[in-house]
Amino acid sequence: MTGDGPHHDGPGARPVTAGREQRGRGWQENLRGYALEVRGSVREGERGPVLVIAGLIVIWCVFQALDDKFLSPRNLSNIGVDIVGTGLVAVGIVFVLLIREIDLSVGSVSGLAGAAFAVLNVNQGVPEWLAVIVAVAVGTAVGAFHGAFHAWLGVPAFVVTLAGLLIWNGLTLYLLGASGTINIDEEGLVASLTSRHFGADAVAYAVAALGTAGYLLAARRRRGRHRAAGMPYRPQGEIWLRTALLAVAAFAAAYTLNRFQGLPLALLIFLVVLVVSDYVLRRTRYGRRVYALGGGVEAARRAGIGVERVRVAMFMVSGTLAAVGGLFVASGLTSASPTTARAAGSGMLLINAIAAAVIGGTSLFGGRGSPWSVLLGVLVIQSIASGMALLGVQDAVQFMITGGVLLAAVAADALSRRAAARSGRSRATPT
C-alpha cells in the first residue's frame, strides 16, 4: 500500500532531481500530503461527526434510562419516519446556508404545500399525483419569488423570507379557512409516504449492503485515480475502517427497522435525497459555484459566476424541499388543519430545521457544510422531541429546550469559525 513506484513521474515540468529520490520518498510524501489534507479539513470545521455522534449516544442513553421504551424498535422506527419531514426541509436550508443566506419561510411554505395539496385533492377532486406536483411547484415558485426579491432587488434574504413567513402562513390559513380541518385519503399516495414500510427483511438489508458497497467502491476508485496520478491518497486501512463503521451502522439500523415493520419508504426517500444533493454539491461544477458564493461573493462574481442566478436557484431549492417536507408532515398527520398551520407559522419546524443543519456541522457563516450534516442533526433533534413526548413533557418546556439546543448549536458554530480563523491566521507565516 505504499505509494512508491514510477507513478510519481507525471508529465510536466517536474524538476529533474525528483526522479531518483522519488522512489524512496514516495510514500512518506504521500503520508505528509495526506496529513495536510486531513488537517485542512479539520480546520475547515469538518471534524463534526464524532462529536455529534457522541452527543446522540448520550441523548439516547439518558432517555433510555428515563423510559425503557425509548430504544425499542418501534420508537426508533417512528423516529426514522419522523425525521424525514424536518430533514427534507433542513436539506433545503443547507443549500441556502451554503451561500451564506437564510430562509425563514420554510415552515410556512411546508404548511402551505400541505394545505394546497389537501384543498386540491380532497376539496377540489384534483387527482392526487397532480395535486402533489402542484403543491411542490408552489414551493418552487415561492422560493423563486424570495430569491428574486433578494438577488435582483437586493433586499436582505432574512427580511424577504421573514415577510414570506407571515404571507404564506396567512395564505395557508386563508385556504383552510373555509373548510377547517381537511383529512387526507388514508390509502392515498401522500398518506403512504409515511405509512408505507417495506415489510420484507431483505429490502432493508439490501439497502444497507448497497450503501456500504457503493461507499467502498467510490472510495477505492478515488484512491486509485489519485494514486495513478501520483497524488496523496487515503491509506487502504482507513478506507476499510470507514467502510466497516458504515456497515455496522447501516446493518444495525436495518436490523432494528426489520424488528418493527421494515424499512420505511420515507427514510429511503430521505436517503436518496441526501445522496443526490451531496453529490451535486460536492462533485459538480454547479455545486462548486454554490460553495464559492459562500466563501466570497465578490471572488465568485469576478470569476464570472452568475451570482444572482445561483442565489435565486438556491431559494428555489429551499422552497421546493420545504414543500416536499410539508407533504411528509401532512402525511404523518393525515390531515391539514388551521391548528397545524398555526404551528407551522410559529416557527417550530423552522427552528428544528435550522438546528438540524447547524448541529450536523453546516455553518451559518456560509461555504461550509453538506447535506449529510442534516442526517445526524435531525436525529438529535427528533430524538429529543421523541424522548420528551414519551416522558410527557409539556410544550412550554419543549419550546425552551429546542430553543436552547439551537442556541448551543449556533454558538458551537461561531466558536469553531473563530478557532478556524485563528488557526488559519497563526499558520499564515511564510513557510
Binding site: R285, R288, I305, G367
Partner: protein
Amino acid sequence: MIHPPVLALRGISKRFGGVQALVDVDLKLRAGEVVALAGDNGAGKSTLVKVVSGVSPADRGVIEWEGRPVQIKRPHDAHSLGIATVYQDLAMCDNLDVVGNLFLGREIDRVGILDEVEMERRARDLMRTLSIRIPDVRVPVAALSAGQRQAVAISRSLMAAPKVLLLDEPTAALGVEQTSHLFDLIEEVRDRGMAIILISHNMGDIKAVADRVAVLRLGRNNGLFDVSTVTQEQIISAVTGAADNAVAHRARPDEEAWP
C-alpha cells in the same frame, strides 16, 4: 519590434456617487510591453483595472480590442477576450482550497462532474513551475499567508494564458525573492507577446520591469513616460502633482506622439 496595440482606452470616465473616480482617461497597450500605472492613493488605478476587467464598467468611454471597439460589461466579457486580472484585494474564496480557487469559474469537468484529479495535477505542476511555496494545494486559502495568497492569485491569472494581464499591486505582500521571481516571470511572458499593466507604488519596481509609465492623478491622465529616459523624480512629481502634465497630455491627443 513593433506590435499592434492590443488594448486601447479612450475617454474613460467613471463616477461613484459624488466621487469622480476617472475622468477622460486614455491608455494604450501594445502586445509585448509592460506599462506601469502609477498614482497616489485614490488616483483611480484600481478603478481603471476594474473597468477593463468588467467588474465595474465605465460610465463613458471606448474600449478598443485589437483595433475594434468592444463592450466589456461583465467579468465574463473580459475573460473571453483574453484579459486576466490580479486584483488588489485578491478576491478569493476562503473556504475553497488552492485548487478550487485556481480553477474557480473554469473548472475541468466531464459533463458537469468535476475532474478533481486532473485539476489537482495541473495545480501541482503550476505551483512547481512557478516555484510557489505553499504547504499543499489542498489547504484552504484562508490558511495561507498574504504573500502565498498573492502568489496563488497571480498563478490563477496566468493559467488562462491571457493576452493582457492586469496586475494591481501584485508585489504588495511578496518577499524580496518572490518579487524578483515575479519580475522574471513578467519579463518572460512579455517576451512571449503578452501585454501587461502593472500597478505599483514602488519606483524601483517600475524602473525594473516597465517599458512605459502612465501616471494618474485625481482620476486624470497626468503624464506618460518612457522608462528608459524618465527619471524617478519626474515620475514622482507627476504623481504628486508638482508637475501638471494633464494639459500637456491633452494638447497631444494623438497617441502616436506618445513615447
